[in-house]
C-alpha cells in the first residue's frame, strides 16, 4: 500500500472506524487508548490508595479515626500532629520545624554512630524519643551489612566470571561428612563446640591434602555459581533456629553484628547473581592488557572493573539496601531489646494489648517507608534502563 492511498483511506473513514481502528501502524485506536488509560489509572489508584491512607491517618487524632472513615484532610477532618509529637517525645505545642529538626538530629546521630570507630564525634543533644533506637539500629545494620554484602558478593562474582575454579567433588564430600560428624558430636556427645570445630577443620585440611589428588571428578565455575544462587531457595526459617543457638553460644545474640552477618548472607545470592552478569558482559581485553602491564588482580578489580560496572554496582547496592531495611524474620529471632529494628518495633506495637493506636502506628509506618519509597524511585531509574534485568533474561 503506498503512502498516498493510505492517507486517502484514512480521510474517508466513518466515525466507528475512527474510534476502533488505529490511525497508523504503531499507534492505538482512540477507543483502545481510552480503555488502556482507564485501566492504568484504576490500577494506580489501587496502588496509591493504601499509601495515601497511611499518610492521612498519621495526621488524624483518636476521634477522626474511630468515628468512621474520613477521607480528605481539611474537608472531612482537621489534621493535627499528635501522632508525630508522640513519636518524637517533644513538648505538645511543637510545630513542623521542630519535628524536622528532630529528624535531622536522628540522621546526624546515626552518622556519628557509624563513623565513631574512625572519627570520634559526640552525638548531639541525645534526646531519646520512641523511635530513636529502632531507626538508628535499622540504618546502622542495613548500611553496614549492605556494604559487607556487596563487597564480598562482587569479589566472588568477579572471581567466578574470570578465574577458573576446579573444586574436587571428593573434597566437598569429605567436608559434608565432617560437618555432620561435628554436629553430631556437639549435640549428642556434648563436646564443646569450639573443640569439635577445630578438630573437624584440622581433619578436613589433613584429609584434603592426603586424598585430594586422588579424586578425579571436579566441579566448575558454573556449579559454584549455581550453588551460591540456589541458596536463595533456602527458606530463612530453616537456618534461623540453629543460627540462634550458634549466636547464643558465642554471646552475640541481640547485637548489631549478628544482624549484619545474617542480612549479608541472606542477600549474597542476589548480589552474586546480578554482579556476575555485569562482570561477564565486560570485554576481557582491558583486563588482559592491564595484566600485561603488571597490575595485580586486586588492582585490576578495583581500578578497572569496578568503575566500568558502576551503574550495575549502584543498582545492586540500592536493591540490597532496600531488602535489608525491610528484613523481618531474622530480626524477630535475633534482636529483642538492644537492636530492635523498625519492622520489629512495628510488629511489637501491633501486638500490644491496649489495642492499636492507628494514628501512632501510621506515623511510624510513614517514617519506615518514606526512605524506601525514595530509594525505590531512585532504583526505578536503573531498572528502566534495563540495568538489573539482564540476569533474568539470560
Amino acid at each position: 500500500m503506498s503512502e498516498a492511498s493510505f492517507k486517502f483511506e484514512k480521510a474517508n473513514r466513518s466515525l466507528m472506524e475512527r474510534l476502533f481502528e488505529p490511525p497508523a501502524v504503531g499507534k492505538m485506536s482512540p477507543a483502545a487508548n481510552a480503555v488502556a488509560h482507564l485501566l492504568l489509572v484504576l490500577w494506580s489508584l489501587f496502588v496509591l490508595f493504601p499509601i495515601y491512607w497511611v499518610i492521612i491517618t498519621s495526621f488524624k487524632d483518636a476521634a477522626a479515626v474511630n468515628l468512621g472513615p474520613f477521607y480528605v484532610p481539611f474537608v472531612d477532618f482537621q489534621p493535627n500532629l499528635d501522632a508525630w509529637r508522640v513519636q518524637f517525645n517533644i513538648e505538645p505545642n511543637c510545630d513542623l520545624p521542630a519535628i524536622a529538626r528532630q529528624l535531622g538530629l536522628l540522621l546526624y546521630n546515626t552518622f556519628v554512630f557509624i563513623i565513631s570507630p574512625i572519627i570520634a564525634l559526640q552525638p548531639m543533644d541525645p534526646q531519646i524519643c520512641k523511635i530513636y533506637h529502632a531507626f538508628t539500629n535499622s540504618i546502622v545494620v542495613s548500611i553496614i551489612s549492605t556494604v559487607v554484602c556487596v563487597t564480598i558478593g562482587a569479589m566472588a562474582a568477579y572471581a567466578l566470571a574470570r578465574i577458573q575454579y576446579k573444586p574436587k567433588f571428593g573434597n566437598i564430600m569429605i567436608f559434608v561428612g565432617l560437618t555432620l560428624l561435628v554436629i553430631a558430636a556437639t549435640s549428642y556427645a556434648r563436646v564443646p563446640w569450639w573443640l569439635s570445630t577445630a578438630v573437624g577443620l584440622a581433619l578436613f585440611f589433613f584429609l584434603a591434602r592426603a586424598f585430594g589428588k586422588h579424586f578425579k571428578h571436579t566441579l566448575g565455575n558454573g556449579d559454584i555459581l549455581f550453588w551460591i544462587i540456589s541458596q536463595r531457595i533456602l527458606p530463612p526459617i530453616v537456618v534461623i533456629i540453629p543460627v540462634y543457638i550458634m549466636f547464643q553460644s558465642v554471646g552475640l545474640l541481640d547485637t548489631h553484628l549478628a544482624l549484619i552477618i545474617m542480612y549479608a548472607v541472606a542477600n549474597l545470592p542476589i548480589v552474586v547473581w546480578l554482579m556476575h552478569d555485569f562482570f561477564a558482559s565486560l570485554p576481557i581485553e582491558l583486563e588482559e592488557s592491564a595484566q600485561l602491564d603488571g597490575a595485580t588482580r586486586f588492582a585490576i578489580f578495583w581500578d578497572i572493573v569496578l568503575p566500568l560496572t558502576r551503574p550495575g554496582l549502584a543498582a545492586t547496592t540500592l536493591l540490597t539496601l532496600i531488602l535489608n531495611w525491610n528484613e523481618y524474620l531474622f530480626a524477630v529471632f535475633l534482636a529483642f531489646a538492644n537492636v530492635q529494628t523498625m519492622p520489629i518495633m512495628v510488629a511489637a506495637k501491633n501486638a500490644g494489648e491496649k489495642g492499636i493506636f492507628w494514628w501512632e502506628m501510621s506515623a511510624i509506618i510513614v517514617i519506615m517507608i518514606v526512605p524506601v519509597i525514595l530509594m525505590a524511585i531512585l532504583l526505578q531509574r536503573f531498572i528502566a534502563r534495563g540495568v538489573l534485568l539482564g540476569a533474568v533474561k539470560g
Partner: protein, 384 residues
C-alpha cells in the same frame, strides 16, 4: 571448596617465603582464593552448616537446661507428629473419609502422574528418573491431602494454605502483572509515570504493607465501608471466615508483588522487535492474534524464569499473615513459616525445625520440578 584450590597453585611454596615479600604480593599470590573465600566461608558457616544442624533439631527433643541445650534423639517423631499424629489437623488439615470429588480428583491426578512417569521412562536417565519419582511422590501426596481435606469439605492446614498462596497467588500476580506490562508497552502517553507508580509497592516494607492493608480492609472503621455498604455486605467481617481471610491475604500479597512481574515482563515486552508487530498489523492481524502468535513465543522464556523467582519468594511468606490476622481465624491464614515460628515461640525447637524442614523439602521439590520440566524446556525451545 575454595580451600581445594590452593593445592594446585603454580609456584606457591607454603614454607620458606622470603622475608621481604610484602602484603601486596602475598595478597596477589593468593588472590585466587581470597576473592571467593569470604563469600563461600560466610555461606558455609551461616547457611550450609545451619541447614545440616537443623536436621539434628528436627530429629530430637530439645530442652534448655542450666548447662546449655540438651538433645534427645527421637528419630522421626517430630515429623510423624505433623504428618500423622496430633498436629495433623494443624499442618495437613482435617483428614476424614474422602468425598466423591476428592476421590475422583485423587484418582485423576494419580493416573496422570503415572502416565507421565511411564512416558518419561524412555527419555530420562536414571538420575532424571529418581528426580521424577520424587516429584511424582510429592504430587500424589499433595493430591491426596487436597482430596481428603479441601475437596471433601474439611478445613485445610498450613501446608495447603502455603500452596494456595504460592499457586493461586503467583498465577493471579502473573496474569495481572503481564496484563499491565502489555498495556504499558503500548504507545500511550504517561508511560513513565505509571512505571514509577506501579513499581513502588514492591519495595515497601512487607510489614508496612501488612499494617496499611489491615487498616484499609478494617471492617469497623476502614475506608472501604461505604463500598461494602453499597454492595450490601456492610456487616461482613472478612477476617472471621477462613477463605475470605485467605483471599484478602493473597490480594494484599499480590498488591506487593505484581510490580515485580510487571517490571520484568515490561522489559521482556520492550525487547520484542517492533518490526514483527508492525508487519503483522499491516497484514491485518488482530491484537489478540499478535499477542498469541508473535509476542508470547518471544517472552515465554523470561516469563517462566520470572515465575520461578516469584515462586521461590512466595514460599517464604510470613510478614503479612503475621501482622494482618496473626494467622487467624484459628490457624487458617498461617503459612508454614509462621507455623514454625509460632511453635518456636512455645519453646518446642524440635517440632519447629521439623516443620521448617518440611517447608524446605516442599520448596525444593516444587521449585526444582518447575525449573526442570518447565523453565529448562522453554529455554531449550527458545534456543532451538
Amino acid at each position: 571448596m575454595s580451600r581445594a584450590d590452593d593445592i594446585d597453585q603454580p609456584g606457591s611454596s607454603p614454607a620458606g617465603n622470603s622475608l621481604e615479600e610484602s602484603w601486596g604480593e602475598w595478597f596477589d599470590r593468593h588472590s585466587r582464593t581470597l576473592f571467593i573465600a569470604p563469600a563461600v566461608t560466610l555461606i558455609l558457616i551461616f547457611a550450609i552448616f545451619p541447614t545440616f544442624y537443623s536436621i539434628v533439631f528436627a530429629l530430637s527433643r530439645v530442652r534448655f537446661t542450666a548447662d546449655g541445650l540438651q538433645f534427645r534423639f527421637v528419630w522421626f517423631q517430630n515429623f510423624y507428629k505433623q504428618l500423622f499424629g496430633n498436629d495433623q489437623v494443624h499442618f495437613l488439615g482435617k483428614i476424614e473419609t474422602m468425598g466423591v470429588f476428592g476421590t475422583l480428583f485423587f484418582a485423576a491426578v494419580t493416573a496422570a502422574v503415572f502416565w507421565w512417569l511411564y512416558r518419561s521412562l524412555r527419555i530420562a536417565t536414571w538420575v532424571g528418573m529418581i528426580g521424577r519419582l520424587i516429584s511424582a511422590a510429592v504430587a500424589i501426596f499433595v493430591a491426596w491431602i487436597m482430596g481428603a481435606t479441601l475437596l471433601s469439605g474439611n478445613p485445610i492446614g498450613t501446608l495447603l494454605t502455603t500452596l494456595f498462596y504460592v499457586t493461586i497467588g503467583c498465577g493471579l500476580q502473573f496474569v495481572i502483572g503481564t496484563g499491565l506490562a502489555f498495556l504499558c508497552s503500548q504507545p500511550i502517553s504517561g508511560k513513565s509515570f505509571f512505571r514509577v507508580v506501579f513499581f513502588i509497592p514492591l519495595m515497601i516494607t512487607p510489614l508496612g504493607v501488612g499494617f496499611a492493608m489491615r487498616m484499609v480492609a478494617d471492617s469497623s472503621k476502614g475506608p472501604l465501608l461505604p463500598l461494602f455498604g453499597f454492595l450490601g455486605i456492610g456487616d461482613w467481617i472478612w477476617s472471621a471466615d477462613a477463605w475470605s481471610a485467605r483471599f484478602v491475604m493473597m490480594i494484599c500479597d499480590s498488591w506487593q508483588w505484581i510490580p515485580f512481574i510487571f517490571i520484568c515482563m515490561l522489559a521482556a515486552l520492550e525487547n520484542v522487535p517492533r518490526d514483527y508487530v508492525e508487519a503483522a498489523q499491516v497484514d491485518g492481524a488482530s491484537s489478540a492474534q499478535i499477542f498469541r502468535d508473535i509476542i508470547w513465543p518471544q517472552i515465554i522464556p523470561v516469563a517462566v524464569t520470572v515465575l520461578l523467582i516469584r515462586m521461590i519468594e512466595a514460599f517464604k511468606i510470613v510478614d503479612l499473615p503475621n501482622i494482618m490476622t496473626g494467622g487467624g481465624p484459628g490457624t487458617s491464614t498461617e503459612s508454614m513459616t509462621l507455623h514454625s515460628m509460632y511453635i518456636w515461640r512455645s519453646n518446642d525447637m524440635g517440632t519447629s525445625a521439623a516443620v521448617a524442614y518440611l517447608l524446605l523439602i516442599l520448596t525444593v521439590v516444587v521449585c526444582a520440578s518447575f525449573f526442570n520440566y518447565v523453565v529448562l524446556g522453554q529455554l531449550r525451545k527458545a534456543r532451538a
